[in-house]
Every structure is written in structure tokens, then in C-alpha cells.
């Protein structure tokens, strides 16, 4: 096992006799959160350093081309020829180099920001989902309540109609009784 492996094993604790994926994923998520918090603190404290990020690599295609037969020899000759001018060339190239490094650093940071933004976006979406579910159940309850009210309204209307009819018949009875008494 090499150094990297030992480091990895230190960061994720695994019980090999009783593997628990949920626990491993919790550890991974915590590790990611810790990593995401770190750069945001650093960002506010320091300016962009003029060194390339550790993971910044040259284009592998260029590397391959440099490494092959004839081109290598031509390159050696050119390098010998250019040696006296090296400090001057370095001076000329320095601003460009610094600009490239700065751009690479900026890109790296933008990437990190995008990651944290997408994380935030997903969290917000989760909240929206919950909110929509709540609205849905609220809507459902409202429909139920409205239906109940509608039924109640119908029964009250029927009762009113019955009472009105009773009232009418009582009126008629009253008139009939009045007639009898007056006779």
C-alpha cells in the first residue's frame, strides 16, 4: 500500500466485517463539505497566488510531441543556440506566464464556486419540492373542506326549504283558524 492509500484509509474509516454504505457516504459527504468550506475562507483572506494549482498540467499532446526522435534533436540544437538569449526570453515571457497562471487559478476557483452554487441550487430545489408537497396537501385539504361546506350548504338549503314550507302551511292553518273563529 503506498502513501496515498494510507492517507485515504485514514480519511475514510471502514469496518470491513460490517460494511455500511450509508456510513461511508456520510463520511464522504462530510469530507466534501469540509473541502468546500476551506477555499471560501481562503478566498477572502488572500490574493490569487502567482503559482499554478498543483493539478495544473501541461497538454499531454505537446509533451508527446516533444519527446519524439527528430523533434527532440532539433529542439536540443535550438536550445543550445538560444542559450545566450535565455534571460532575455524569460523576461519577455514572464508577464504572459504570470497571466496564464492567474487565468488557470481563476478558472479553478470559478469551478469551485460553480460546484458550491450547484450544491446550493440542489438544496433550494429540495426546499421547493417540500414546499410544493405542502401546497399540494393544502390544496387537497381545501378541496375536502370546500366539498364538506358545499354538502353542508345543500343540507342547510334543504332545511330552509322545509322550514319555509312549514311556515307557509302554518300560515294557511292560521288563516283557516281565523276564518273559523270569525264565523
Amino acid at each position: 500500500m503506498d502513501k496515498k492509500d494510507i492517507k485515504r484509509e485514514n480519511s475514510i474509516k471502514v469496518d470491513y466485517d460490517n460494511i455500511d454504505v450509508a456510513d461511508i457516504m456520510d463520511q464522504i459527504k462530510r469530507k466534501v463539505e469540509r473541502k468546500q468550506e476551506k477555499p471560501s475562507k481562503e478566498e477572502s483572506l488572500e490574493e490569487f497566488p502567482l503559482v499554478p494549482p498543483s493539478n495544473f498540467q501541461k497538454d499531454s499532446g505537446i509533451e508527446d510531441a516533444e519527446g519524439t526522435g527528430k523533434k527532440k534533436r532539433i529542439k536540443m540544437i535550438l536550445l543550445k543556440f538560444m542559450k545566450p538569449f535565455a534571460p532575455f526570453i524569460k523576461l519577455l515571457v514572464l508577464p504572459v506566464h504570470e497571466e496564464i497562471m492567474e487565468t488557470a487559478q481563476n478558472l479553478h476557483k470559478t469551478n469551485m464556486r460553480l460546484d458550491s452554487l450547484s450544491y446550493e441550487f440542489r438544496r433550494t430545489m429540495e426546499h421547493f419540492k417540500e414546499y410544493t408537497k405542502l401546497l399540494h396537501s393544502l390544496y387537497h385539504n381545501l378541496v375536502v373542506e370546500l366539498t364538506k361546506l358545499k354538502i353542508e350548504e345543500e343540507s342547510l338549503r334543504n332545511k330552509t326549504r322545509i322550514i319555509e314550507k312549514d311556515f307557509e302551511s302554518l300560515g294557511r292553518r292560521e288563516k283557516a283558524l281565523e276564518k273559523l273563529i270569525l264565523k
Partner: protein, 391 residues
């Protein structure tokens, strides 16, 4: 006991999805019941154009009855209707119009089911979202069993499906997540059902060495098997994998097996081998460190089960509830929901061979316990037995 398996397409040429699921189940259920497949003449799932001959056929010893598709699907007009019903306020008639466009539009199949319902004890319908399932269940609700093979996509929220999910006599689900989604959607908990899924056919002999030699692969690799499509999360996988390669010094390769409808980035460590025969596929799985499953929408993921059958760990997209649930239940895979988690989970699995082995073993145990063919057959039979007892 005579069972009719009703599915949108059926044939040896169809190598994945609900159709293969149906074929395997039918072939295994043939041992204990009399079975017949009712399907269409289509082979192409985009247009449903008639391909096979109409009438009776025999596929791997299973009697198949094929019915013509009366109207092929026009992808453009289908796309328009689908966007309309997903994005706009619409009526139920619009959803029926969508269902007809979705197809395979074969009224003769539905007519046959209605007319010959007494010839069969039960009709087992595969894939809720197609014409044959909706109108088939509608024709014989008292004899229907639905295998929804539902994914968590927006189509499932159509109003017509809420009604459909309350009609069959029983359900055969692919996963617990699918069951919960359908129950929540249609409050159909009272309808009997079970989480069953599907087994897989593993070749007697497989070895990764042959695969590496044949395809000239040196060093460690992770493998993706399936259609290379944006909907399957492949674009995200490519982005994550390329970023992973940039940010770490890992020499890991990504091997892709399957036909593609997506531009694959040109990178020396991304190897696309195209569509491979079954034995080659299993050799590839055997030689890999793990299977990566980046899909956002899965009803079950048969290839994940195949990886577990071989004792291989899985790295799945955690945004897919089914894959995440399967990984947690089986302890047979890790999952990711963003790039940082992908990087950490993949690095962990690459650097800890012992963990890969242990997780793979868990997956294998989970597969044997839940997806061995005997278990699947027994679950189908027990559902039918329950329905018979209720009669």
C-alpha cells in the same frame, strides 16, 4: 393456469429494458404455467414501425401473438404533444391524444384481449406508459396484473395514470422506491403487490483477461454498460471523469459498452467499444474495478444487478432514487450527487481494493437473496395465488 404477458415489443433482437425483462420472466414462468405473449409487430421503439410478421410466432419456445401497429409514431408531432402536456394546462383528452401518439397504437391487440379474455386466467402488462397497458388494463381490469417499470420522470404525473394505477388486481414492482412513488401518486395501497424485479442470465464462464486482451486494454478500468445517451447521465459522467483525470494523477480508464447517440469526448483514457455480445459484456464486467451507473432515471437497472451477480461494486448516480436505494439496501455500491462526491467515492473505491471486494460481495449476496430466478418465480406465483384465494 394460463398467463398472457402483454408487452410493447418482443423478440430476440431486443436487448434491454422492459422488453428483455418481460422475455426473461416469460421464459422462466413457462416452467410452472402455460404462457403466451401478446405484443405488436414493432421492433423500433421510436417509430413502432411494423417489422415482424402478423399472427403467431415462436420465440425461444414461447408462443407469441403479434398484432399490427395501425399508426407509426412521428417523433416531431409526438415531441410537440409531449411538451404541451408537460408544460401547459391541458384537458384529459389531450393526455389521451398523447397516449395514442406514444403508442404503439394497436387497437387490434386491445380488441383481441377484450374478445379472448376468457381464454386466459391473468394478463400481465409491462410498462405503464404505453398504449397497450392503459387500454389493456381498461379492457380486463379484473384479470390484469401491472408491472409498471416506472421511472421518476414527469410523465408519471399525468392524470390518466392516476386512474390507471387504481385499476389492476395486483402490481409487480421493480423497487421499493417505485412502489412508494406509485402509492403516493395514486393512493393505491389497498391493491396487492410485491417488489419483485428481474433476475439475470449469467454465462457459465467469464474472464476479464480475455476481454482486456481482445480489446487491447492495459491497466485498471471502470466500465459503463448501456445506451450512451444524455438521458442516461453519460454527458455528466464524461465531464466528471475528465475533471477527475485532470485533478488527480489517476491512470484509470473509462470503458464504454453500448451504442451511442451522444458525442464521446476524444481522450486516450475513454474507450468506446460499441455494442458487444453478452459473453463479452460479462468478460468486460469481470475485468473492471467497478461498474459506473450515471443514469438519472432508472426503474431497476438490470446491468447493476449483473454487476452484483459477478460480485462487482457499483458507483451510481445518487440523484436516481432507485439506484441510491438499491446501493443502501444492498451495501453493494457507493453513489454521488455532485462532482466532489464522485471524486471522493471513486478515489476511495480505486485506492481500497479490500473495500471494493467487500462491497462487491455484499452486492452478490443481495442479488442471490432477491434476484435469483427461483425467488422471482416464487414471488410471481405467490401474487397469483393471493389473487386466486381472493376469488
Amino acid at each position: 393456469m394460463k398467463l398472457a404477458f402483454v408487452v410493447q415489443r418482443y423478440g430476440l433482437e431486443i436487448s434491454g429494458g422492459a422488453e428483455l425483462h418481460c422475455r426473461w420472466v416469460t421464459e422462466h414462468m413457462n416452467k410452472s404455467c402455460e404462457v403466451e405473449v401478446l405484443t405488436t409487430r414493432a421492433l423500433d421503439y421510436v417509430t413502432w414501425k411494423n417489422y415482424y410478421l402478423e399472427g403467431r410466432d415462436l420465440v425461444n419456445g414461447i408462443p407469441v401473438r403479434r398484432f399490427s401497429v395501425s399508426k407509426t409514431r412521428n417523433p416531431e408531432s409526438f415531441g410537440r404533444i409531449q411538451s404541451y402536456i408537460l408544460e401547459e394546462e391541458h384537458r384529459e383528452e389531450d393526455e389521451f391524444r398523447w397516449l395514442k401518439e406514444e403508442g404503439p397504437f394497436s387497437p387490434s391487440l386491445i380488441k383481441y384481449i377484450k374478445k379472448h379474455q376468457d381464454d386466459y386466467d391473468y394478463f400481465i402488462f409491462f410498462s405503464y406508459r404505453y398504449y397497450h397497458s392503459y387500454w389493456g388494463v381498461d379492457a380486463v381490469p379484473h384479470k390484469s396484473i401491472l408491472v409498471p417499470t416506472a421511472e421518476h420522470d414527469p410523465i408519471i404525473y399525468l392524470k390518466i395514470f392516476k386512474k390507471l394505477f387504481r385499476r389492476p388486481q395486483a402490481f409487480i414492482y421493480n423497487s421499493w422506491e417505485e412502489r412508494k412513488m406509485i402509492n403516493d401518486l395514486s393512493q393505491n395501497e389497498h391493491i396487492p403487490g410485491d417488489v419483485v424485479g428481474v433476475g439475470t442470465e449469467i454465462p457459465a464462464c467469464y474472464t476479464g483477461e480475455i476481454f482486456c486482451k481482445k480489446h487491447n486494454i492495459t491497466g485498471d478500468y471502470i466500465i459503463y454498460i448501456g445506451r450512451i445517451d444524455e438521458n442516461k447521465g453519460c454527458r455528466q459522467l464524461f465531464n466528471y471523469f475528465l475533471r477527475f483525470k485532470r485533478e488527480t494523477d489517476s491512470e484509470i480508464k473509462l470503458v464504454l459498452v453500448g451504442s451511442t447517440i451522444l458525442k464521446i469526448p476524444s481522450h486516450p483514457d475513454i474507450l468506446h467499444l460499441g455494442f458487444l455480445p453478452e459473453d463479452d459484456k460479462f468478460n468486460g464486467l469481470d475485468g473492471s474495478l467497478l461498474l459506473v451507473m450515471p443514469s438519472f432515471y432508472e426503474s431497476l437497472s438490470m446491468v447493476t444487478l449483473e454487476a452484483w451477480a459477478l460480485g462487482k461494486p457499483v458507483l451510481a448516480n445518487g440523484q436516481c432514487e432507485v439506484l441510491k436505494g438499491q446501493c443502501l439496501r444492498s451495501n453493494g455500491g457507493l453513489f454521488y450527487e455532485n462532482y466532489q462526491e464522485f471524486k471522493e467515492a471513486l478515489s476511495t473505491l480505486i485506492s481500497l481494493p479490500e473495500l471494493r471486494l467487500a462491497i462487491g460481495r455484499n452486492g452478490q449476496k443481495y442479488f442471490t437473496k432477491n434476484y435469483a430466478w427461483q425467488v422471482i418465480e416464487n414471488k410471481y406465483l405467490s401474487i397469483i395465488k393471493r389473487l386466486e384465494e381472493r376469488k
